[in-house]
Every structure is written in C-alpha cells, then in structure tokens.
C-alpha cells in the first residue's frame, strides 16, 4: 500500500482473526493489509460487523491476530508477550471507545489521572481536559456528564499520555449529530496540534470527508481506499 507523504508508523499485513462467540465461530478478519502514517488522519469506513473493531483492537495491542503481521515503527507486535503489549499500550496508544468506558466511580480528572499516573511523559489531567474543552467540569463524575462530555473525557484520557497513535472506535456512535461534531472537532484539534496519527472507525460515511485517507471495509476485508484532495472542516460535515 502506498504511503506517500506519511512514513508508516503502524502497519498490518495479511491479518486474519477467528474467534468464538458463545458457540459460534466468527471470521472477523479474512486477510487485511493496512497502514497508518506519522501524523496521518485515517477513517476506516464500513458497516457493522465488517471487522473494523477487530482490526483496531489488534492494531492497538488489545488482541492478537490468528495469522498475519502487525508492526509498530517496524517492530513486530504479532509475537509480543502480554507484558510487551501492555507496555506498548501504556506508552504509545490512545483509545477512544463508542461507549466511552469511563470508570463510573472516578471523576473526570481522576479518569484522566488513571493514565497520567502510569505514562512516561504525560500532560497534566487539567491540560488534557482543557484541550477537549472540559476545563470547567474537572470534578464531575461520569453520571453527572452528558454523553458528548463523557466522550470528550475519554478523548482527554486517550491523548493525555501524548500517544503516537490514537485509535477511535465509533467515537460518535452513541451521540447526536451536533454533540458528535463537537467530539470530531476535538479529534481534529488533537491530530493537528499534537501531530498524533489518528485512526477513526465509523459506519457514518460523511465523516470520511475530514480524513487524509479513507479505507472502506466489508466482510472482514479491505474493499477500497481513497485519498481526499482536501480535508473537510468539521462544520462542513453533516449527517
């Protein structure tokens, strides 16, 4: 896959993944090649169940492929031990999930501190929350925040460690359009200001307009890829 301007930071080759869900075998990935360049903003587009999340989990070191290679800055992650994967996540990867996955018993500040306490060169929780526009709601518990605010806390938590890659799984999936746009703005800001390579998974096609590159997904395979001439601003995106 040509990388052009961006040198690859994270790449996958021939990935397959089969897992058991209850009593059923699910073929989530059937041979996927994909790469993410330094500072690049990539949108992975595809319907539910197309294997996008599985790919993201493997790229982020949450899961291991059944076969194929994953490389971070040229180093193979496929055979890494649990300890090495934990370290990879701790130092290099930021995750944003569809359902935010905040710890309900911790405040916004404390949720971010969870990461800043263990990462090598983090920003302060206040700075990270300021970056997502939540400087005023530091001491609120998740149950006291709206869905969009919770997702921004999740983004602050993901970027506070200054990760090399930011992996977002349907970050706007549980949000209405205007709240969703606010979240996308934050992702865009982080990508621009911190230069974090960002991959966003979505089944929401209009979002693709704001990416450098769009990879389309279907039935566990990459079905297409295109490069946007110009990255649309968030306020130009609507759904």
């Amino acid at each position: 896959m040509p990388i052009d301007a961006h040198s690859p930071i994270l790449s996958a080759e021939g990935l397959t993944k089969v897992y058991r869900m209850g009593e059923v075998d699910v073929h989530a990935l059937r041979g996927v090649d994909v790469a993410l360049g330094e500072g690049e903003f990539v949108v992975l587009l595809g319907p539910s169940g197309s294997g996008k999340s599985t790919l993201l989990n493997i790229l982020g070191g949450l899961d291991v492929p059944t076969s194929g290679h994953v490389r971070f800055r040229g180093e193979e992650l496929g055979g890494a031990s649990e300890r090495e994967l934990t370290r990879y996540r701790r130092e290099h990867v930021g995750f944003v999930f569809q359902f935010y996955n905040l710890i309900p018993s911790l405040t916004a500040r404390e949720n971010v501190a969870l990461v800043t306490e263990i990462a090598p060169h983090p920003m302060s929780p206040v700075e990270a929350l300021g970056l997502v526009g939540l400087g005023e709601r530091l001491d609120h518990f998740p149950s006291q925040l709206s869905g969009g605010e919770q997702q921004r806390v999740a983004i602050a938590r993901a970027v506070a460690k200054r990760p090399s890659v930011l992996l977002c799984d349907e970050p706007t999936g549980a949000l209405d359009a205007s709240t969703g746009r606010r979240v996308l703005e934050v992702l865009e800001t982080v990508n621009r200001e911190l230069g974090t390579a960002t991959a966003v998974i979505t089944h929401n096609a209009p979002i693709a307009a704001m990416a450098d590159r769009v990879v389309t997904f279907g039935d566990g395979r990459v079905t297409g890829e295109r490069r946007n001439e110009r990255r649309a601003r968030v306020d130009e995106v609507s759904w």
């Binding site: 009593e23 899961d63 996540r89 701790r90 995750f95 359902f99 911790l106």
Partner: protein, 787 residues
C-alpha cells in the same frame, strides 16, 4: 492518592452492605478462634504456673499404712526427684444447707509448714501451728460457699467421730483446680478439704508416724511408667493400691478433658466460618469482576498491567477481611473475658487471667488474609485472563441447556417463573451447593450449640424422672440400725419409706481400679432405682453386683467375671464378687447390689445410711422440718429444691450461650443468603426488568428471585440438621465419660429452633433484597449494555 486507589475506596463504599456481611463472617471466625484458643492458652498458662509454684506431683499412690521413714526408700527410686508422704483420711462435713454432708479429705501438712509437693496456696489466714490441736486450713471454695473464714469452727466426721476444728486459714490447692469427686464435678459447697499438721492428723486417725499416701515428682526425662512400677514394688508389702500418673488425679483429669474439648472447638468452629467467608468472597468478587468487565478491559487498554489490576481487586478483598479481623479481634477479646469469667467459677486458680497474645493476633490476621486470598483467587485468575478486546464486546449470552429437570419433563408442571429459577440453579450447581452448605453450617451450629442443654435436660429427666422418684432424701450421719426407718415411717405425711445402704469401695480387676460408691437397694424399690439412659429399670440380681457400663469398660470385665471390692470405711476388709450385669447409667461410676448382698459382703448386721421418701405434697415442709430435727440425720433434701437449683444454674448459661450462637449462626445465614440474593439480582436485573416491561408484576418477578433464595435455603435444612447431629456426637464424645455420659438426645425444639433462626435470617435477607427489586430502574437497566 492514586486514581486506582480512589476507585478502590469508592467501590468499597458502594459495596458496603455486602462488605459488612462478609466482614462479619470473617469476624465470627476470628472471634471464635481468639476467644476459645486464647481462653485455652490462659488455662494452660494458669495451670502450668500453678502446678510449678505449688510443685504438683507427677505420681500419686494410696496405701494401707507405712512408716514415714519409708520415704527415703521411695526417694532412692531411679527417676524420682522428690517425695512427699502424707496421712490422709476421708471426711464428711454435715452442713445445714446440704441434703448430703459435704465429702472430702483431711490431709496432713509437714511440721515445717510448707509441703514438699502439692503445697497449698493460702488465700486467707495462716497455716496451722504444730502442736496446737485442731487448727485447720480449709479449702477456699468450700469456705467461701458456706461463708466460713479464719476464726470459725467446722464440724467434720472422721472415722465416724464428730470432730470440731478451728479454721485458721483458707487455701487453694493444685489438687482442687476442679472440684471433682468420684461421681463427677461437684458444686463448691459439697467438696471439702482440710489441711492440719501431721501430729494432729496422727492423733485424730490414731496412727503415729505412718503415712497412707505418697506423691512423687519425676526427674526431667525419666520414665513415669518405670517410676510407677518401682513404687508399686516398694509399697506392695504396705498395702499399696497402685500408683498412677496425673491422670489418676481427679481434678487434673477433669481439667484435661475440659481443655481437650475447648481445643477441639478452637479449631472446628473458626474453620466453618472461614470456609463460609471464602465462599462469600468468591461469589461476591466473581460478580464484581463480571460487572466490571469493561472497566478492567479499559484499564488494560490504558496500559495497566495484569498484576496491578490483580492487586487492586485483592486489596478490595483484603480491606473487607481486615475489617472483619478487627471486629473479630475485639469481639473475641470481649467474649474471651466472659468465657474466662465463666470458667473462673469452675476452675480454681489463684491467678486466672485472659490474655490475647501476639501469636493469636498473628494467626487471626493470617487466617483472615488467607480466607480473602483463597476466596478471590479464582476472580484474580479471570481478571488476569480477561482479554481486553473481548471485554469490549458484550459478553456472550450465558449458555443454558435443557436440563435434567427438562428431560424428566418436570418443568411441564411448572410455570415460566419456576423454570427460570430451576434452570439458573442447575446452571450454577457449585454455587447452589455451597449456598446450601452455608445454610447447613448455620443450622448445624445452632443444633450443636443447643444440644448440651438438651442432653442436660435428658440427664435430669432420667435422674429425677425415673431414678430418683422420692420427694425427700434423707441421709444419716453414719450407718444406723433399721429402726431408724421405722422412725421415719411414723412421721405424719410420710407415705412410704425406702431405705438404702451405701458405702465407698475400691473396686479392682487386674491392674484397673476405681473408688466408687457401692449402694444396696431394697427389694421392689420404686423410689430410688437404677435406671438406664432409655429409662429402663435395672433389676437387682439375687447374687453378684451390677456395675455402671462405663465402669465395666474401665475395669475390662464382662458379666460373669469377678471383681475385688475393698471397703474403705472398714480398712482391711476385702472380698471378691461376681459381676451379674451392667446398668447403662448416665451419671458417674457405681456398683449396685441388693441390701442383703451388701450386708453379706461387709459382714455386718442390717444397717441403713439413708432413705428415699414419698410424702404428701401438702405437708412437705412440715415433714422436712420434723425429720431434720431427728437425731443422727445428716441432711434432708427435697427433689423440688434440687431441680430448682439445677435449673437456676444452667438457665443463665443457656441464655448467654443461646444468644451467642444465634448471633453467630445468623451472621452466616444472612451472609450467605443476602450476598447470594444480591448477586442473583445483579446478574438477572436485565432479565427481571425485561419481564417487568413485558407486564409482569413486582410480586411475580420477586417470586422468581425469592423463589431461588428460599429453595437454596431449604436445600440446606436437612444436611444442616444431620451435620448438627454429627457435631453433637463430637461434643458428647468429648465429655469426660467417667463423670457422665451425654445421651445423644436432640429435642425437636432444638431442631425447630435451628430451622427457625435460619428461616428468619433468610426472610430478613429476602426482604432487604425485595426492596431493591421494587426499585428496579426499568429503562436504566435496559439502556446499559450487557452485564
């Protein structure tokens, strides 16, 4: 504070009710351990200090008589460290407040004052002065029970002579830690011991310079058995009655038996509680991890290592169990103080203090940590194994299969609600099993805890309902001619008089011997009978004697064998008699025969030592008063007052004990039921909310959850009752068989009480959970993902 630690404290607060119930179970384990085992150690320490200070002997022997100079020969036996030879004489002390005279011993003190072995511990006054006639030190417990002290006088019967002694001091003795007689542990007012100087005892007994009892301490490392064999050889020409080690000393033997029982309890009860605690930690923590699946996955995604997360959940559990250990230590110390205060009524040590040592604290904390770790082990494994990616997806639906009950087509007869209950129970058989066992443990503790009272009730029933049926018991100062009976018959209000003749004997077969009472019964006795545990009356044989079954076992004889009898009140008189049969009596060790047989064996004219009377109830007081005033009567006692005294004494112990076991058992039952119910509710809140949305009423969905709770509890009932019976057997076996045999009688009230307490605990737990069902947030539950 680190963010993860904040989560820990907030999780703990959120879980507080469940955490408290688990802490209490751990607390009960620690409390029972600390209380019983520290009390046990306090007993050991008090005993060892006491024995060491007063130089309690290792070997004891009674003999006919030997010159005191023989002590040198005993001292030269290999292995003997020190020898004390004393003169000792059985005494009785008729007391106004007793139905029978107090019995005991008069012992000599060497002229120098201090005894070489088995010395006394003066509590008041002074030791008797040599050369001053009739000065005595009296056993402290006896003096206290009768309000006697230095300066008072006491009438005693020595060799059938009434002697008045002057009390100059009171004392405790290592030979009287427990007030035991051959018929069991006695009340302090009925066991008397006196110490007088050698010359005074010699004068009273009429033997100068002789001893009839020797005690020896054995050198460290020497064989006690070898010493006993040598002592027996030396004393054979002097009528030696066989030396024994400390186990032949009554007080010591009862003390050992009591401590053995306590040590057993110090292990079994805490282990039951710990097992329950492990189970509860397991159930609750498994559920928490299930609920926090996504949080764990996120923390892993954020880069937290498995070990750090395992630490987090371990810390949560250890906090809960540590709080339990703290509660347990405090409760254990308090209960221990109470237990020791109770024991101080029965164990007479000069110093007896309850002390919890660092060792107990260490074991208690260690056990609580261990319970936590064992309980959470499975959970930690699943936390470590949880793949972060998988946790991001909703959990696969739990696998239900058509169950055994389905195949048996039993479900056809059940509604959907019961099908759900049964399938859930079948899906988690281990949880079902352990829940039922938890309830069973609670019930067993209740049954075993109340068993001793049932047994005492049964003992009383046999003793006063079947054996001792006379309204009034009369004892004479000494054996009297049968005319004494006619005098009793002529007292107005007396319907019937049944005489008896009893005398202490040493009964021996081979190497085994015991000192017991031989009682002669009249023909056709109906007021004072020999009765078995099953209320069967044992008829007196025409020839031979009847032994208590336990005595037969100790002597190793069977019906048809011969035993030797030695009459203690007629020194030198011995005879051999055939064992005609056994009586399965519950109390003490005895020999029974017809009165005529006793007379023949003793070679005396017909004499009586007491009588049992049937009396017109309306004239009871008058009868007692008239008989009490008759010459030669030592005591008059009514059955009614004996029963009342007994019930007054056991009543208080029973109420305290019942209170404690109800608390302990409820802690287990509520711990098990409440936590199970909470976990069930949490696992099934989605299911239950869906049913509510479908139109089920609160009552209907409550039935599903509460049905499960009650079914689990019900499954524990029968095993609990059976397990309680097994524990009761253990308690009965732990009792000293020579003093009494606990009949394995458990009343239906006890069974019912145990089930009732367990049922109440279940209902209380169910009600608390029911409130939560009523407040189920339908929309909220359905909106959240999985779980």
């Amino acid at each position: 504070m680190r963010s993860l630690d904040r989560k820990l404290w907030r999780d703990l607060w959120h879980l507080r009710t469940q955490a408290i119930t688990i802490s209490l179970v751990v607390g009960a384990a620690v409390a029972s351990y600390v209380c019983v085992s520290a009390a046990c150690e306090s007993l050991h320490r008090s005993r060892d200090d006491y024995y060491a200070r007063e130089r309690f002997a290792d070997v004891f022997v009674m003999l006919e008589a030997a010159p005191r100079t023989l002590a040198t020969k005993l001292a030269s036996i290999a292995g003997v460290a020190q020898v004390a030879v004393t003169a000792e004489e059985p005494v009785r002390a008729p007391m106004a407040s007793l139905r029978e005279p107090a019995t005991g011993r008069l012992m000599s003190l060497p002229p120098a004052g201090q005894a070489v072995l088995n010395d006394i511990f003066l509590t008041r006054g002074r030791r008797p002065m040599p050369g001053v006639a009739r000065e005595a030190v009296v056993l402290d417990s006896f003096a206290t029970a009768h309000g006697l002290g230095p300066g008072d006088t006491l009438d005693i019967i020595v060799r059938e002579r009434l002697v008045t002694v002057r009390i100059v001091g009171t004392a405790m003795s290592p030979e009287y830690v427990m007030l035991a007689s051959s018929t069991g542990v006695s009340k302090p007012d009925s066991i008397v011991a006196l110490w007088m100087t050698e010359d005074v005892v010699d004068a009273l007994v009429g033997k100068r310079g002789a001893f009839n009892r020797a005690a020896m301490s054995v050198q460290h490392g020497a064989s006690i058995d070898a010493v006993i064999a040598s002592v027996d050889r030396v004393l054979k020409p002097y009528g030696g009655r066989g030396a024994t080690d400390r186990s032949g000393q009554l007080s010591h033997r009862y003390l050992e038996a009591e401590m053995g029982g306590l040590e057993g309890m110090a292990t079994v009860v805490p282990l039951i509680f710990l097992a329950v605690a492990i189970f509860l930690v397991n159930v609750v923590m498994s559920r928490i991890v299930e609920l926090e699946r996504e949080q764990i996955a996120v923390l892993k995604a954020l880069g937290y290592a498995n070990l750090r997360l395992a630490q987090h959940y371990l810390a949560l559990v250890l906090l809960i169990t540590s709080v339990g250990a703290g509660i347990g230590l405090a409760a254990g110390m308090w209960l221990g103080e109470e237990l020791v205060a109770l024991y101080a009524k029965y164990f007479r040590f000069p110093v007896f203090e309850f002390e919890v040592t660092a060792g107990h604290v260490f074991v208690a904390l260690g056990a609580s940590v261990l319970a936590g770790v064992l309980g959470v082990l499975q959970t930690l494994r699943s936390v470590m194994r949880l793949p972060p990616a998988e946790a991001m997806r909703p959990a696969a639906p739990p696998v239900y299969r058509r169950s055994l009950l389905d195949r048996l087509r039993i479900h056809r007869w059940l509604g959907q609600a019961w099908r759900m209950v049964l399938r859930e129970m079948e899906r988690r058989p281990a949880r079902l099993l352990f829940s039922a066992l938890g309830i069973a443990a609670a019930i067993a503790i209740l049954v075993a805890g109340r068993f001793s009272f049932d047994a005492v009730e049964a003992l009383l029933d046999v003793q006063f309902g079947a054996a001792e049926r006379g309204d009034v018991q009369v004892q004479f100062v000494a054996a009297r001619p049968t005319e004494a009976i006619h005098a009793l018959e002529h007292v107005p209000g007396v319907w019937r008089v049944e005489p008896m003749r009893s005398t202490p004997v040493r009964v021996r077969a081979g190497h085994h011997a015991r000192t017991v009472v031989l009682t002669g019964h009249p023909e056709h006795a109906s007021l004072h009978r020999v009765v078995t545990a099953e209320h069967r009356v044992v008829p007196m044989p025409w020839d031979g004697v009847v032994l208590t079954t336990e005595l037969g076992r100790i002597l190793g004889v069977e019906p048809g064998d011969d035993v030797d009898l030695e009459f203690i009140e007629s020194p030198g008189r011995r005879t051999t008699v055939r064992v005609a049969g056994f009586a399965d009596e519950l109390f003490g060790l005895s020999v029974h025969a017809r009165m005529a047989k006793v007379e023949a064996l003793m070679g005396t004219a017909p004499l009586v030592t007491g009588a049992s009377l049937a009396v017109d109830g309306r004239m009871l007081d008058e009868v007692c008063e008239r008989i009490g005033a008759m010459p030669g009567v030592a005591s008059v006692a009514t059955r009614r007052s004996a029963l009342a005294l007994f019930e007054e004494q056991t009543g208080e112990n029973m109420r305290t004990m019942t209170f404690v076991i109800v608390i302990f058992a409820s802690i287990i039952a509520i711990g098990v039921v409440y936590n199970n119910a909470r976990v069930s509710l949490s696992t099934r809140s989605r299911e239950l909310a869906s049913l509510r949305v479908l139109g089920f009423t609160r009552a209907e969905i409550s039935r599903i959850l509460l049905g499960e709770i009650f079914l689990q509890a019900a499954l524990g009932v029968l095993p609990g009752l059976a397990f309680g019976r097994v524990l009761a057997e253990g308690i009965a076996a732990g009792a000293d068989a020579e003093s009494f045999r606990f009949p394995l009688v458990i009343s239906s009230e006890t069974y019912a009480f145990a089930v009732l307490v367990a049922a109440m605990s279940t209902v209380v737990s169910a009600l608390i959970v029911r409130r939560r069902i009523d407040h189920l947030d339908l929309i909220g539950v359905l909106k959240t993902r999985g779980g």
